[in-house]
């Protein structure tokens, strides 16, 4: 046997399914895969199936379930609070475009290689890594009508600010402002990465063609950032439709006249306060389906999104 054939043979046994090494590796790989699958099954799939079932019952979360067919869904159609909280949830999503625009502008500013870029990046990122509960409590104080920081600042310029969280008209904008502030750093960082990864040659070519700054932005920077924008919109919409923590902390009773109550907050109230787990499950089914439709729609609209420059 020549040396070559030995190597060949070794190679063959290594890749052959009967080899011990292959089997060990294979087992390890399976083990790695199995963990998240188990987690997914226990923590997501089973509860999901369970709640699909529960949504067709009048389960109160304590006792037995009685099948009631579509009754929960019929009740929902007539439930004003369901529609109001759903409306509030979408209203609060107005913060998403605002946040995206602001973070894009910030990222553009920071990508110009100014001094202290790292410093600002840290500053804007701090809210992202802070606990949401802590932030909500802090803003709750800031929004206080009498002693709040926000109104103190407004008083400096002679404006008497409202009691933000107790006023039907200001409570939603107040929460939007907080969410934008909280999410700014994350979106900014993604945009920064996207902007900095645009090849310099594109801009050089555009310069040769005599493009002005706006044209360069419109035809190069913005399209190149589209995948990031898409990603941010999707994740923000999904996150936004589940907004709960800040609502529950800042306006524990759903705000004046339910004006800041979101759908998830309402579901939680129904499930854990009013013993209507079945009805709550039904609402979360609808919410889940809504999120799915919106996301699918976004994928459809954005199906042409890629790096191709038009």
């Amino acid at each position: 046997m020549t040396e070559e054939t030995v190597v060949e043979k070794k190679k063959k046994t290594f890749f052959h399914h009967d080899s011990k090494l292959y089997r060990d590796e294979h087992r390890a790989a399976l083990l790695m895969i199995v963990l998240p699958v188990i987690g997914f099954t226990i923590f997501t799939l089973l509860p999901l199936i369970y709640s699909i079932f529960a949504s067709f019952t009048n389960w109160n979360g304590l006792g037995e379930m009685t099948f009631t067919g579509w009754r929960n869904f019929q009740l929902m159609m007539k439930d004003n609070y369901f529609w109001q909280t759903l409306g509030n949830t979408f209203y609060l999503m107005l913060g998403i475009p605002i946040g995206l625009i602001l973070s894009f502008l910030l990222a553009s500013a920071l990508s110009r290689g100014l001094k202290g870029t790292t410093f600002f990046r840290v500053v804007y990122y701090i809210p992202v890594i802070s606990s949401l509960a802590a932030i909500a409590i802090m803003w709750q104080w800031a929004y206080n009508g009498d002693y709040g920081l926000v109104n103190q600042v407004l008083a400096l310029v002679g404006i008497k600010g409202p009691n933000w969280l107790q006023n039907v008209h200001t409570v939603k904008p107040a929460i939007i402002a907080m969410s934008v502030w909280k999410g700014l750093g994350y979106s900014m960082l993604l945009y920064l990465a996207a902007i900095q990864s645009v090849p310099k040659s594109f801009y050089e070519a555009a310069d040769l063609d005599g493009a002005n700054a706006f044209q360069k932005f419109k035809n190069i920077t913005w399209p190149m950032c589209r995948p990031v924008t898409f990603f941010l919109i999707i994740t923000n919409v999904i996150g936004g439709s589940q907004i709960f923590t800040e609502i529950n902390i800042m306006t524990p009773t759903g705000g004046p006249e339910y004006s800041s109550a979101t759908i998830v907050w309402y579901i939680w109230q129904k499930a854990f306060k009013n013993f209507q787990m079945g009805y709550a499950s039904a609402m979360s089914m609808i919410l889940g389906i809504l999120i799915f439709i919106i996301t699918a729609l976004q994928f459809y609209v954005n199906r042409k999104s890629d790096y191709k420059l038009s």
Binding site: T44, P47, G145, N163, N274, S284
Partner: protein, 447 residues
């Protein structure tokens, strides 16, 4: 659907905690003598400490029992307990919130402890009857029937006044037995509302009542109520009720004896009270440990009385119940009895300043003790014994119908809607919700 993931996580993590506790009980019960029961409760820091101490004392007298404590914040308690119940990991002994009693009993969560309590020779007559009766139910109404828990405490909500402020302004102190009429209350309040440092801004106010915790006193003393006796009809649409609500709203809109018109969060008025800038503020027994450290002197008085001429207020309660599935029912019931009625335990809890004694004779001694503050602690006992009532939603299947009232009330307080319009508009909304709650009750009671 991610919400379910979150809720599932909460449930599962709670279960894990409880599961661990269960495992603990298994391993230690193997020596057949020592075993573990779990006790789930909630409270502020002082309360947690005081109860921890009382439980240690219990363990000393029950050498074979080890009490595993699960303690949560007040906000999280209901959610965590329900998750534990759904996950079939009910703690052996736990707090019951009054308005959950019917649901827990009708769904077989709570154990009927009548027999055990009877056997243990506890003198229930010496415990506040309001406290005990809050945990009796026949599955339809609360107040009579088998016993499903013992009172952890009773919480009379009295009215406090800043004695130092009264003295400084040469106003005679409120009588401790004869309540102010509504007119007198406004008169005194106007005198106490003023600018003390001469900067042109009012910095001392008379009242700063949070509607959630104070409106009841005014409505009831005026002869109004949220529902009829059977809890089947919402009765806010009456002249007495509307008058009381209007009077309450007028504190800020007409009489200007309450800080800033848009103000309603209790946090701020609480701080004002603590700083000595408010004349009147509600005081519950759990406040004493904090208020006794304040720089000014304060005392308790009856709430101002409306048309009925009688003072009124509410008295809350938390109960201690035993799981229907507990393996150690004897020990579990004994723990509930110990915390609720044992003299030594009560002394520990009362000394910590977190509650008034559950035992009547002990309470009287406590109220008569001249060395304690505030002087008129007797008022608490009168409320419990005499004129205190349960919160409107305390005995309905859920509190949704009542929450509607408080959720929509801001425009009335801001003076944009009159009380009369409001009660007319809200009544049908609340009635629908109350009907639904009663429907739910009926459905579970039949089982």
């Amino acid at each position: 659907m991610k919400i379910w993931k979150k809720l599932g996580l909460v449930a599962l993590s709670t279960m894990m905690v409880l599961g661990m506790a269960a495992c603990g009980s298994k391993s230690s019960s193997s020596d057949s003598k020592k075993h573990t029961i779990t006790f789930m409760y909630r409270g502020g820091e002082d309360e947690k400490k005081a109860y921890g101490q009382a439980i240690k004392q219990f363990e000393k007298t029950h050498k074979n029992v080890n009490v595993k404590i699960i303690v949560t914040s007040a906000d999280n308690y209901a959610t965590k307990l329900q998750a534990a119940i759904s996950g079939n990991k009910v703690p052996d002994v736990f707090y019951i919130e009054q308005n959950n009693l019917l649901a827990y009993v009708n769904n077989g969560v709570l154990k009927d402890i009548s027999k055990e309590v009877k056997k243990s020779n506890i003198d229930l007559d010496n415990v506040w009857s309001y406290g005990v009766n809050s945990y009796r139910t026949n599955g339809k109404t609360v107040g009579k029937g088998p016993l499903y828990g013992l009172p952890k405490d009773v919480g009379p909500m009295s009215l406090g006044y800043n004695k130092t402020m009264f003295e400084k302004n040469n106003i005679p102190l409120p009588d401790k037995d004869k309540p102010y009429t509504w007119d007198q209350f406004i008169e005194v309040s106007k005198k106490l509302t003023k600018d003390t440092n001469g900067d042109g801004k009012i910095d001392q106010y008379a009242t700063g009542f949070n509607v959630n915790w104070s409106l009841q006193a005014f409505v009831w003393s005026n002869g109004g109520d949220w529902t009829n006796k059977n809890k089947t009809k919402v009765t806010i649409n009456t002249p007495q009720f509307a008058e009381a609500l209007q009077y309450f709203a007028d504190f800020q809109n007409k009489y200007h004896i309450t800080p800033s018109a848009k103000e309603s969060q209790s946090l701020d008025t609480y701080q004002r009270w603590m700083k000595g800038e408010l004349a009147f503020f509600p005081v519950g027994p759990w406040d004493l440990s904090t208020y006794n450290k304040l720089k000014f002197d304060y005392d308790l008085m009856p709430w101002p009385a409306g048309k009925t001429g009688k003072s009124a207020t509410y008295v809350g309660s938390l109960g201690i119940g035993v799981s229907n599935k507990t393996k150690y029912s004897q020990d579990a019931v004994e723990l509930a009895e110990y915390l609720s009625t044992n003299k030594k335990a009560q002394k520990t809890l009362v000394d910590a300043g977190v509650q008034i004694p559950n035992l009547k004779n002990m309470a009287q001694t406590w109220a008569d003790d001249k060395s304690l503050k505030p002087a008129n602690r007797e008022e608490f006992l009168q409320i419990v014994n005499d004129y205190g009532r349960a919160m409107p939603a305390a005995t309905t299947y859920n509190s949704e119908w009542y929450d509607v009232f408080m959720t929509d009330i801001q425009p009335v307080l801001d003076g944009k809607v009159t009380a009369k319009e409001y009660v007319k508009k809200e009544q049908p909304k609340m009635q629908t919700k109350l009907d639904a709650a009663n429907q739910q009750l009926k459905a579970t009671a039949q089982k």
